[in-house]
Amino acid sequence: MDIGQILTALVWVGLLGAVFGAILAYASKVFAVEVDPKVEKISGILPQANCGACGFPGCSGYANAIVSSGAEINLCSPGGKEVANKIAEIMGVTAKESVPMVAYCACNGTKENAKNRFEYYGPKSCASAVFVSGGHKMCDYGCLGFGDCVEACPFGAMGMGENGLPYVIDEKCVGCGACVRACPKGVMKLMPRGAKVYLACNSNAKGKEVTDACVVGCIGCKICSLPKTTPSGAIKMDGDLPVVNYNIEDTLTGAKYKCPKGCFIDKGDRSKSADQIAAEKEAFKAEEAKAAEAAKKAALEKAADQKA
């Protein structure tokens, strides 16, 4: 065995390694890019869910955008107020209130409620079902029920119900809007966490068309938007579909009970029994009747006064 050859090998490979190491060590000094320490701090605070609710590519992208291009600090939906406040501390600004949102499915077209135009046998995804003349449901606006939203949810906050509609587990939902982006029909929507009543229909079609397609579709009767039903004006009509303005605080009980199709769903009802719900409806009707009578009486008295 030639010791000299082993030595040359050792020396040269060692030298090669040492030289490259030295070059890299030197380069890391010369080419060092200064990272704003704030970026790392903010990155540490963000939940690292990389859900994209803020509209930036990932949590680090958002941290960068806050520091370098002055993005709003309350855009992180999963982190909510807590994170916004912490970022505010670092950036030295005060956080604007950000309303925590939850997702909901604005469609009640279950297998029983909504009719199908045809049987669909293609790939089981809404994205491909929608290519076949807009989906197999007779309603052009309704949920197709293959659960693209459920798959898109990064927090496991959604599931597919037996009835063919997705459901949202409010405790897990952070309102990132991934399901909203995944839905080809735009049925998934966001509402403030505090609100209870939402409109479970997305159909902007005319009354006849809706009743043909679905038992619980909004026919655009405008009753919910009347000042008599919703005095606060929280419900406005947009074409043939009412839009709830959650910025105006309102329990929306009027709309909930007066909608002839029962399109308004109250999340509070989920924990109540059927009897309880019926009783509440009766109570509301009785009160309504009482109020109507009182108004009638007042009008009569007024008329009598004027006569006298």
């Binding site: 050859q5 040359t8 090998a9 040269w12 490979v13 090669l16 390694g17 490259f20 190491g21 070059i23 890299l24 380069a27 890391s28 010369v30 080419f31 060092a32 890019v33 293609g122 790939p123 089981k124 995804s125 994205a127 491909s128």
Partner: protein
């Protein structure tokens, strides 16, 4: 510079001896980064870039350090060392001086530091012989690195295009994801076998 040689190298390493589909080198990024067309193109560009530079540097290391001291048998370890250091260096350089290029290729660079396709091209540059017994020249080595990268990119882009469509296909649960990707790549490889009937020598 022999024009004939250049054309032969180009056709050879893009189609006949495609790094992924005939030599089965660089399968890892081929399967891992072929889910989206955008990232596949980014990865392909990074591989072209690194393969070209790796051919350049390893040629110098081999013929000016290893050959004079009879250390040719150490080529594998010397090349790994060289390529890893080179990629690290390029990454730092790009981060500082070419931020836009860095944001396009940057995340892929660490992935191919010790990629076998990159090491493969360096070793093939040394080992391949022309029929007359001569080795690749300096220019030919670099050209082989570049066209090898192009071949890799083509394979990757084809794969990514197919996999994007496969996302929507109605597959049995057990075939979803990687299994169907493997079957697909095997079919593409068989299709590329058709090129081996070409006679360019």
């Amino acid at each position: 510079m022999n024009m004939n040689h250049m054309i032969m190298i180009a056709i050879g390493s893009i189609f006949l001896n495609n790094f992924v589909l005939s030599r089965f080198l660089g399968i890892c990024p081929f399967v891992g980064v072929s889910k989206k067309l955008d990232s596949a193109v980014g990865m392909g560009m990074a591989v072209i870039f690194v393969m070209t530079l790796a051919s350049f540097v390893t040629y110098l290391v081999y013929y000016y350090i290893l050959v004079p001291y009879q250390l040719e048998y150490l080529n594998t370890i010397a090349f790994i060392l060289t390529i890893a250091a080179l990629v690290q260096f390029i990454e730092m350089f790009m981060k500082k001086n070419m931020p836009s290029l860095y944001s396009a290729l940057g995340i892929f660079l660490p992935l191919i530091t010790t990629n076998c396709a990159v090491l493969g091209v360096a070793i093939l540059n040394i080992d391949t012989l022309w029929p007359d017994g001569s080795h690749y020249t300096f220019i030919e080595s670099i050209w082989n690195g570049f066209t090898g990268g192009v071949g890799f990119t083509i394979a990757l882009v084809i794969m990514a295009g197919i996999r994007e469509k496969l996302e929507l296909a109605d597959l049995p649960e057990s075939m979803k994801g990687l299994p169907i990707a493997f079957v697909t790549s095997a079919l593409i490889a068989m299709a590329f076998l058709g090129f081996s009937g070409m006679k360019i020598m």
